[in-house]
Symmetry: D2
Subunit: 355 residues, 4 copies
């Protein structure tokens, strides 16, 4: 089993300290939650832009083992000294901090700053100067795992791009679909963060589904285009519509595109089986079983299924991830494992919290 | 206001009796709920296949004013004698009953039996003989309202086809989009009915989203194709993926298609404004406001919004309906109003139960 | 049926105009929702402290028929001229407005200002001067209906006190229980209002139950004590614990007290049957059927059930109400009906929106 | 940190095999989920009454690492050979199986069969012969941890009794409250199991709270009476009302009793601080912070808070647990740890999955 491998390592007794900034938000809190079960990474400090000086327990009641930690400021000086620093900050804040941290500190950025490789794309979508790109923390992409091994700066993918990229890259890489994809994704509300906005109140979101960011304006769109175009080897257009559904966690991405000439259900399944045969976190479900977000809730896993709609001539791929785990905090630790030379699955949950 | 018009009618003192069969299910229960607020239609009897002899209050605890009604059998003999009969039965059961009811009884079928006009399509999707088609109860389609006025047999549309047809018909009719549409719809669980299946348990559906019927196999697909092809005047292909979201009621349909040459945001908005300017139940929201299912919960209304994704070259239309109200039970009473010559909005809720 | 009675009134053609202030909040929005289905009361203006000048549709997307109303200021001058004024404001704001409205305007206060009769109790719980008490809008209490007929100032009860008072008053009045009651009530989040606070975010409340205001500190406590002591004829102590549950609407109050000597299940049932035999909105369910909040969702009804725990020697009473309907907005219109001499049930929903 | 202790053990390389029967239900599934993260216990076989021969992945989609396990029969012969057997079966089925398993097999019963010590109480509540009592798996009770160390038969407590016993035992043991307690507990739906019943459908439970088993008829009542009477040293009466709330997991128990003469807030807090000072899984929150079920979701922890209601003269204690984790499956592994001589917290989650 996955955890037995620990025994070959633990004899060294080595552990690494981790500092998390943005620890009072949802992404940062998830990193802390997962650290509590990691055998070799140890949460050594929590930081945040505001809330410095408060007990973490007031702000993150579920982090009971860490309740008495006092929140420290979120600046480079305060963050120096950890083996690993996880940045879970609003976009635009990572670059300045990272530049002042030692080069051999492992810095994992859960924000958007270093995901896009094209400065022009960054400028178009974010309106300011690009901070530069870091190795992209999606080890399941061909060749990517090698780039993350030993890396000291890693950009964790966005939650939607994680689900959509893993859903569509194999088909695009194999030339099975046309490079015009349509994605409609349902997301739990934690994806919208913890700042209190009226439309995110429980009274508003329970019992209701809504669309937002319609028409290609969601900032995760260029990241999807970048990943999918790279997989396809040609430019891919992405029509992306996110929707907000009444649950806290989870993304279900329904993705489709026209089948390329000659492609069929058999070649599609073969492509996905091949792409993910050895991936510990990506599960192509048996035929006929469709993903649910509960099966990956709190886990660092992705559940995938594909089908061909003959009449419409399209391939449909559905992917489920937990936006906070494989979508953010779990991916951060998966990347940290690779950076530190630990087995990639170390300490990461493989089973969703269901029902 | 809408309800003032009653004063010009009520002077006659006329009311009509209504019998509902399938009254112990979700669709039938919704018809009963709405009848309780209808000034001229009076629920006179409840029927069901099983449960005959039981108090309605045991089976539909919310129908408090009708709790002491005893459920009667669901056969033509038992259903004779009402002015209006609403059939909320599994498909395949309506035709035999309707054939034995008097010709001047208003029979409203909430099931699928009489929606499709093409016997071959019926046979392909349902596997048995077609019962024939009835006037299609979607008055918002061009020319359809006139066909329903005074009708004695009406087929209520399916819940998904209602949302998708109203979302896309104007664009197809105006030639603004290509006839290949992609629909991903989120539905509350009541659309799956009241029979107890493990995957519909609260423990399974709360906190989880899942896909089902993927690949063009949902039986509402041919009904959408029929409606949209009629609107377009040419065959339309529909890629339809339904998803189940953690709420009881509501559908949010996200629909898109490639823009036709020359079409743009302006011509699209103009087409929708024109199509629904005089519709009492269909609301094209102000630009930038996106539909939520809570705004139509329990109401006989549809909330719509459109956007153009320039980069992807697609028109996106999002529609919200309550699958049980405008999607079934409310539509049934809207049709009954037309059949009886009452103002179309009589007794129907225009405001959703929010928050 | 309940709605037939309208025919005897509508011939006069009379309608009354209603102004609602606090119309952008949950309570005020509910009043507007219910007005849309009321045959004789007409929403003529919406007001609010902030948001003046904005379209109502931006702030209350479900109020589609009123979307184009422009929000007006919430002051006495702006509110003059309506036949009925409904105040859905934070406590402390009603008295000043009401004092400047004409004496013959029907003023219905959904806030707390005029509920308590004891100025000392007010000062102890709210810390400022008492505005005086108005007729208490719970017609189901003995003798209360008569006081509301024709009244021009009415204080709508709090949502928790409505449920708890109706649950326990009959047993206390009949001397069946000791005057020390324990109440644990579950409430949907809309009871906490629409202002955005982090602990009310959907991400926080979905999938979670929490307690708050524990230890007798909730401000609805003195109102319960007042009502129950009046029913009992002696002082009653109330241990009240509210809890927040993951739904938008609804209260389920579980109330219990020690049985008085000689009291038993039979005498208890007889007392409740007698108390509510003629009440159109209060339903004592058949033995063995327990209330659910969904059965009263959006309706102006209360579902009640009682049981005796022989081993513990206690009477348990469970009551379900919708905090926004019978708990606030529906009660407001029920009171308005009484004030105006209309049948008490006019225009009020009797059936919950279930499932 | 808690996980470092593993390093001192793992050097032996020892692991134990675990067989779980009832693995297709919610309790059994939770045991499997937790085993996936346990470093020394290894899930070696899954069993069930029905479903034998099917892939576990069809029945428990979240158990992705175990998806290909084939469900085996649930009988003693099939269950022989494991180091540890966890029984997650309906009551009445454990004794016969346990009797045929080797004496040195660790048998952990998640069912009710061996919890009650009084055969007469068993007969009164379950109607058949008592199977005998086993060491009671609540190590947090005084002296109980010692009885579980090295035990080979352990009865896991019921979920409600776990929360209520931990909530009230310290106050009763210290004589701070009268021995008449009132408990109202909110539970997620997974507590009702996985068999498909209409009232447990998502459509019924979402957006709704209901009471059930009112009047002292829930079968967890005698277990609470047993535990609390033992803690108090005198008979304790328990008025227990369970309610069903719209979430999958979690229990929030609101417990209260009259303060004994001389008891006050200070003595109460001191008693709870003392009782749980060294307990790794029980957290008395800082004053003023109230438990939420999300903070313990999926974790083997209990969050507690107390308050004194001076006016009502009562102590209120609120406890949150996850009914499937500390309430069942986590407690089972905690007991297994003790039985096997492992550190009690080994492999058990300490952080809830929030938000």
């Amino acid at each position: 089993m996955h955890c037995r491998v620990w025994s070959c390592i633990v004899s060294t007794g080595q552990t690494w300290t981790v500092g998390v900034t943005g620890a009072t938000g949802y992404a940062g809190g998830e990193v802390c939650r997962l650290l509590a079960a990691h055998p070799f990474l140890s949460l050594a400090g929590v930081h945040a832009n505001s809330s410095a000086g408060r007990r973490l327990g007031e702000l993150q009641p579920h982090l009971l083992p860490y309740a008495d930690l006092v929140v420290q400021p979120s600046d480079a000086a305060s963050l120096a000294g950890y083996d690993v620093v996880v940045l879970a900050l609003p976009h635009g804040e990572s670059a300045a901090i990272a530049a002042q941290l030692p080069e051999d500190t492992v810095v994992i950025d859960c924000g958007a700053d270093h995901r896009l490789t094209d400065p022009a794309a960054w400028a178009r979508w974010y309106g300011n100067e690009h901070a530069g790109s870091w190795p992209y923390g999606l080890p399941e992409l061909p060749g990517q795992r090698e780039k993350l091994a030993g890396a000291r700066r890693i950009a964790v993918p966005g939650c939607y791009p994680t689900s959509v990229t893993l859903a569509l890259a194999p088909a695009l890489a194999a030339g099975l679909i046309e490079p015009e994809v349509v994605v409609v994704a349902a997301s739990g509300t934690s994806g919208a963060g913890k700042s209190a906005k009226p439309h995110l109140l429980g009274s508003e979101v329970m019992g209701s589904v809504s669309a937002y960011g319609v028409g290609g304006v969601h900032r995760h769109t260029p990241e999807m285009i970048q990943n999918l175009s790279q997989a396809a080897g040609i430019p891919v257009s992405v029509s992306f519509t996110p929707t907000l559904v009444p649950m806290s966690r989870g993304i279900l991405a329904t993705c489709s595109a026209k089948l390329a000439p000659g492609a069929d259900a058999g070649s599609a399944r073969a492509a996905y089986e091949k792409a993910y045969a050895d991936e510990p976190f990506v599960h192509l479900l048996p035929e006929g079983q469709w993903p649910t977000t509960s099966q990956v809730l709190g886990a660092n896993t992705v559940a995938l299924q594909i089908a061909v709609d003959q009449a419409a001539g399209r391939l449909i791929v559905v992917a489920a991830v937990d936006n906070l785990t494989k979508g953010t905090g779990g991916a951060a630790l998966q990347c940290a494992n690779l950076a530190l030379g630990l087995p990639e699955t170390t300490g990461l949950p493989l089973v969703g919290v269901a029902p």
